[in-house]
């Protein structure tokens, strides 16, 4: 019994050390490489940290959407990718997600997901061809999404709203 107890104590101590080492190991790449994926507070921070002006942000926001974004994640390597989440002013729930990526789109937790697609049409936007999807999310909420190619980036904007507001936001993106 004594052997088991002292063994358990030693084991617990070693596990605590392993956890600390893992935390340090997880931090090292962030300190080695600025472009490693991380959370940012503002759009300007992303632009400064990744030395890019490529990050597209809408200049038009409907009143119900809160500025600044509630979440900004971005990386510069192995390819540029960012995701911004915006919340609804009244309820605080995520209402708009803007993704921009040279490769795979960054996956956020509990994303806006169009569960029932009612319409999927091609949409001409500032001389570019986009794909507009209209449907409903969970709880039968109206949702819409649009995706297009902007140079080397794949842009995806998803919104818990009708396509009318969505297209206005997308048209204002620079």
């Amino acid at each position: 019994m004594n052997k088991t107890f002292s063994g358990s104590l030693a084991f617990a101590l070693v596990i605590a050390i392993i956890v600390i080492l893992l935390k340090i190991m997880n931090w090292v790449p962030l300190s080695l490489q600025q472009e490693t994926i991380r959370r940012y507070g503002t759009v300007d921070e992303v632009r400064a940290a990744l030395l890019t002006k490529d990050l597209s942000v809408p200049s038009y926001f409907p009143q119900q959407i809160t500025w600044p974004p509630s979440l900004i994640l971005a990386q510069g390597k192995p390819y540029f990718a960012s995701v911004m989440e915006f919340t609804r002013a009244d309820t605080g729930e995520i209402a708009l997600v803007i993704s921009q990526s040279e490769g795979e789109t960054l996956r956020v937790e509990d994303p806006i997901e169009i569960t029932v697609i009612k319409e999927k049409v091609r949409y001409a936007m500032r001389g570019r061809e986009a794909m507009l999807t209209v449907g409903t999310c969970r709880n039968d909420e109206p949702c819409s999404g649009i995706t297009w190619q902007e140079g080397r980036y794949t842009m995806t904007v998803l919104m818990k709203s009708t396509p009318f507001e969505l297209t206005k936001i997308v048209e204002s993106m620079r």
């Binding site: 893992l22 890019t52 490529d54 192995p78 390819y79 540029f80 980036y153």
Partner: protein
């Protein structure tokens, strides 16, 4: 859209392909199973040390955790929490391997490429050192050999087979001056002994060596062991699993030593029999007198690696039996499960 200020931000197509792979389900499975097995290995080693577990039978059970756990861990965790792959979860995880894979050494060579090379090298070693000998051995043992000479072993083998509850194997003599002994564990088990070994060992030592092989034959009938050995193939690319699998095989040798000692009640006989093989390693290589390659390469490989510690163990008679290992095993398993959940 504005033009980027920094040209280096333009991603390399092949770097993007590697990155896309590690973001796919298959890539995440490969990368996370590697991390999970590494953590399982570290935790298991510490558990064996902390609870002073030296019994090879128990150590082997702990090592099977390292081999089997990563096969199912990733799909299991994803089933519990599908958002585990999200960027936010990864950012807040205890360890995210993708952070390391995205690092570029000197701004040129991505760690992901080196990691892929490590996996490819492990796969090649697995194929040539494990799969090819096993397939060759299986094919060889299926070929009927009408002219094979059987070795007379007296009542010892029958008694031992009865004790172990297995069919008495045939003992086949191979004409070879090198000392070899190995067993074929199929439906009709057999032990193959080289003529060189029959000259090198006295009767006591030969019985101990045969008892060890009987141990292998008896253990090869355990379904859990068979399943573990088959499932190990899924982790062919995993270097941690490869190392730990080989350690599990070494444990198997010690387990069979214990079985042999139980059957012969003479540990020194087996220790001195093993010295025949041990001395063979130290001596300069002699010209091969036989063209027949040694069978059971994995087994022989582990024999050669561990002969010294096996001899010491037998001579010091430190074949301790661990009791009450159930709680440490459960604690180790739970620790591995909880830690690895936060390792993505």
């Amino acid at each position: 859209m504005n033009v980027s200020l920094k040209e280096t931000l333009v991603a390399n197509p092949w770097v993007m392909s590697i990155s896309s792979f590690f973001n796919s389900f298959a890539g995440m499975y490969v990368a996370q199973s590697f991390c999970h097995s590494l953590i399982a290995a570290v935790v298991t080693n510490q558990a064996l040390k902390a609870w002073r577990i030296h019994d090879p039978l128990v150590s082997q059970r702990f090592r099977f955790l390292i081999i089997l756990f990563p096969i199912l861990s990733f799909p299991f965790y994803q089933m519990i929490n599908p958002d585990r792959g999200s960027t936010l979860f990864r950012l807040e995880a205890l360890f995210d391997i993708n952070r390391w894979l995205a690092v570029e050494i000197g701004g040129l060579v991505p760690v992901a490429l080196l990691f892929l090379l490590l996996l490819a090298l492990t796969s090649l070693i697995f194929f040539f050192q494990e799969m090819v000998p096993v397939v060759r051995n299986t094919l060889d043992s299926r070929q009927p050999d009408e002219d094979r000479a059987l070795l007379e072993t007296g009542p010892f083998l029958e008694n031992a087979a009865q004790t172990l509850g297995i069919k008495t194997p045939e003992v086949v003599l191979i004409e070879d001056d090198e000392p070899h002994i190995f067993s074929a564990t199929g439906r009709d088990p057999a032990i193959f002994v080289s003529s060189g070994l029959t000259k090198a060992l006295d009767q006591r030592q030969m019985e101990a060596a045969l008892a060890h092989e009987m141990g292998h034959i008896a253990r090869s009938r355990r379904p859990l062991l068979i399943i573990a050995f088959i499932l190990r193939i899924i982790m062919f690319y995993n270097p941690v699993v490869m190392v730990k699998f080989r350690k599990a095989i070494r444990d198997e040798e010690k387990i069979c030593d214990d079985i042999a000692v139980t059957l012969t009640r003479d540990p020194t006989a087996l220790a001195s029999a093993l010295k025949v093989f041990y001395h063979k390693i130290d001596e300069p290589p002699e010209p091969q007198t036989s063209s027949r390659p040694p069978k059971g390469s994995i087994e022989e490989y582990s024999h050669n690696l561990l002969l010294e510690s096996r001899i010491q163990r037998l001579e010091s008679r430190s074949m301790d039996r661990s009791t009450g290992w159930g709680l440490p095993f459960v604690v180790t398993l739970l620790t591995i499960m909880v830690l690895n959940y936060y390792i993505v």
